[in-house]
Amino acid sequence: MSIILILFCVLSFITLATAFLTIYSRNPIHSAIYLVICFFSIAGHYLLLNAQFLAIVHVIVYSGAIMILMLFTIMLMNLNNRNDVHKPRITRLGAIVLFILMCVVLIGIFINSKPIVGEYISTGEDYQSIKVLGKILLNEYMVPFEFASILLLVAMIGAVLLSKKEKITK
């Protein structure tokens, strides 16, 4: 077994185990911390695929920003971990069926997907470099890129507006 394969097995084990523990643990803060570890191991998978930029941006955005805000919310709300809402049986059944359907879709995607890494290597393009990535984003995919940025801007302005609501009504 090569080192890459061993690393992949270890990382996959950590990803799946922490993802499972995220939904299994009773304390919401422990759940959040397991999720952070899960995100880190996913960043490790990106590094195994030689995608440095994606790995680091994943760490900054998911672990560094989103999960920290999540932890803030949980810590400040001081959720009572004993206060579980009992869900009716039909909801649980529905969740299981939906999960299985989701798995079928995902397996279908993975079976039909073609690994694009080999193609990039054969063209001799340095696909890890930020320069190449930036040129592709702003030439070939410029319209979706700009749409995504407008979407993010609108979401940000909306969040600011929501937090300012009290002052406007005065």
Binding site: I29, I33, V36, Q52, F53, I56, V57, V59, I60, S63, G64, A65, I68, L69, L71, F72, M75, L76, Q128, S129, I130
Partner: protein, 350 residues
């Protein structure tokens, strides 16, 4: 991957690690000496000449103190907090170029643990992880004051990360690369970035103060309001780790300031020295130049600490969100116009 490469990198990493530890240790001594000088006192002078053995004595004291544990249900997380704080403080140094290439034993030795393409983003990534050390430690202490201190520190760090990232974008537009090695190399001679991007440097400096939780932004350690901040419940070497991590962070951020804005290992007349005395001697001077620059920044940190009083919390947030962020966006626009001036003039028909 050949074994000499691994040995070479291991030596570089070990030396950098030892040097960071040594600098963090002696920063505590320097801080007390600077404070004493500014307040017209003598400062530590009992252990060793001029108190030079004081950090060792402090370390010994911290190690031999009783290890107290609060009654917390999260013992593991309580131990993890200082560990995260310390390791994130140390791993940032991996991407810093400490000098140019040495030419020894017939091979080029790079004084840098790793030269990745996304070095600047790596530093921001590590910075954002550093918040976890404080938050987890403060929460696991099972103490309201620790929790409030941790939330204060973390929200301050998250807010100033935004302004810091935006301020650095203007610099990156100019350099066109994220690699710290290339940024250093571009500043050869006296082409230091601080002359081209003074506003970016100012914003970055203020944010660096806030990120390292130093005065005037040390709201997390407001004794009058919060007892001791997020490390109230910590004792012995666990508290020592938090304080040590703060000094290591200060050292690393001084180095990053020197590398990004003050030319890194470059000094005036470097090309002359390379020509006449060889690459290796020029590099030794280069390391010395970087060391002097970063010591200057560390002194500046201490100078500010004993000069400016602490801000109020709303003033801190006001400065971060309403002044620094618009200012750095303005800086980005100005830099963009200056970079594209030829195209803009051509478009307008001049």
């Amino acid at each position: 991957m050949d074994s000499t490469f691994i040995i070479e990198k291991s030596v570089v990493i070990l030396v950098v690690f030892a040097f960071t530890m040594l600098m963090a240790m002696y920063s505590t001594w320097a801080e007390r000496k600077v404070a004493a000088y500014l307040q017209d006192r003598v400062g530590p002078n009992r252990a060793g000449w001029g108190g030079l053995l004081q950090p060792l004595a402090d370390g010994l004291k911290l190690f031999s103190k009783e290890e107290f544990e609060p009654n917390t249900p999260n013992r593991f997380l309580f131990f993890t907090g200082p560990a995260i704080a310390m390791s994130t403080a140390l791993i940032t140094s991996a991407v810093i170029p400490w000098g140019d290439r040495f030419h020894l034993f017939g091979r080029d030795i790079l004084l840098q643990a790793t030269d990745i393409d996304v070095a600047m983003l790596y530093i921001f990534g590590v910075l954002s992880i550093g918040v976890y050390g404080i938050m987890i430690g403060g929460w696991a202490s099972n103490n309201k004051f620790s929790l409030i201190g941790a939330i204060r520190a973390a929200s301050q760090m998250v807010s100033y990360e935004v302004a810091m990232g935006l301020s650095i974008i203007a610099l990156l537009m100019m350099t066109g690369t994220l690699s710290l090695r290339e940024i250093s190399a571009q500043q050869a001679g006296m082409n230091w970035n601080v002359f081209y991007q003074p506003l970016s440097f100012l914003i970055f400096l203020i944010c660096a103060f806030a990120e390292t939780n130093r005065t005037p932004f040390d709201l997390a350690e407001c004794e009058t309001e919060l007892i001791g901040g997020y490390h109230t419940e910590y004792s012995s070497m666990k508290m020592g780790f938090y304080l040590f991590a703060e000094y290591a962070n200060m050292f690393i951020s001084s180095t990053i300031l020197a590398v990004l804005f003050f030319g890194g290992y470059n000094y005036p007349g470097m090309s002359w020295v390379v020509e006449h005395w060889g690459v290796n001697i020029a590099n030794v001077f280069g390391i010395g130049a970087l060391f002097i620059k970063l010591c200057g920044f560390i002194f500046f940190y201490m100078w500010v600490r004993w000069t400016i009083p602490r801000f109020r919390y709303d003033q801190l947030m006001h400065l971060g969100w309403r002044i620094l962020i618009p200012l750095s966006i303005f800086n980005i626009i100005i830099t963009g116009i200056v970079l594209l001036r030829v195209e803009i003039m051509a478009y307008l028909g001049f």
